[in-house]
């Protein structure tokens, strides 16, 4: 199982994976148990001459306990899964930190318009610049993204960060992440958005803070004031 996920490069990615594995081992246990029971019963109770079936209705509590007690255990495990998941959900989606870097991403058919704050670090100023389908972020910084869409519903998906959020036209939705490992990764669209949906790919680059600053400076100079 391990090894199928894309490499994790975010602070909270491991937590998401951990909830996955928690569920995996819990349901895996039940899965194996039930399948073994099925096969065992099928072999043990296959028809044999002169051995009639047992007339058990399962309408007495003593019999039903075989079903209800395991179901109660399922209930307890469910609540455990809920508790574990809720904490991670709150980290990723509900309690957003202020963010060291604030970007705006606007989706449209079929590209991602990424607006950077420029060297002054503030959005809405003259040195902002916009780059098509290239998401650059500094390593180890809390990145805050305000997500919008110009036309249809898209979905902002960073597999390596374990982050996904639909971009809904008419709304702006904030999200955050903190990438811990430099490198070049991919930004994908995960919601059907038209005939070019499959081409709506962006490059996702995690730079060292210095390299990021340099990249921003270079682009601000080239496209500054745009």
């Amino acid at each position: 199982m391990h090894g199928w996920f894309p490499q994790n490069i975010s602070t909270y990615g491991a937590d998401v994976d951990r909830v996955f594995y928690l569920i995996y081992y819990i349901v895996g246990f039940w899965f194996v148990l039930t399948q073994v029971a099925i096969v065992a019963f099928l072999v043990r109770y296959r028809r044999r001459a002169s051995v009639p079936a047992v007339h058990v209705r399962g309408d007495r509590w003593r019999e039903l306990a075989w079903v209800l007690v395991p179901a109660a255990v399922v209930l307890v495990l469910d609540l455990g899964i809920d508790a574990a998941g809720a904490r991670v959900w709150d980290t990723v989606k509900a309690n957003l930190p202020a963010g060291d870097v604030h970007l705006e991403v606007t989706a449209k058919q079929f590209e991602w318009l990424v607006t950077y704050p420029g060297p002054d670090g503030k959005l809405g100023t003259a040195d902002d610049f916009t780059v098509n389908s290239q998401l650059h972020v500094p390593q180890g910084k809390n990145v805050r993204v305000t997500l919008r869409s110009q036309d249809v519903v898209h979905s902002f998906f960073l597999p390596n960060v374990r982050l996904k959020q639909d971009a809904v036209p008419g709304r702006s939705i904030d999200l955050w992440f903190n990438a811990t490992k430099t490198g070049t990764y991919e930004l994908a669209c995960a919601e059907l958005c038209g005939f070019g949906h499959y081409t709506m790919r962006g490059v996702f680059v995690v730079d060292t803070p210095e390299a990021y600053a340099a990249w921003v400076a270079q682009h601000a100079a080239a496209g500054g004031g745009a």
Binding site: G170, R171, S172, I173
Partner: protein, 92 residues
Amino acid sequence: MSDTARFPSYVAIWSWLVALLVVGLMCAFLPFGKAMAIFLIFTVAVAKAFLVARHYMHLRSESLLIYAIAGLPVLLLIGLTIALVPDIVFRR
């Protein structure tokens, strides 16, 4: 069961409905506060619907099954509406 009990006075109920219609209109055009006016208007509407359902649709004399059939969707709708408030009303 006597005939009068079987058939309530439909005309009397109609008069009540018309009276409530007038009350509703008055609530809308008299100088109440907005919240108060809306509250009154919808109280009147619920009263009218209640009269029609109870007497004209004979819910008065229907079995529990019919109440369940009519009541369940109303409950579901209230639930649906409440659940949508955070998303639709307070959209970001």
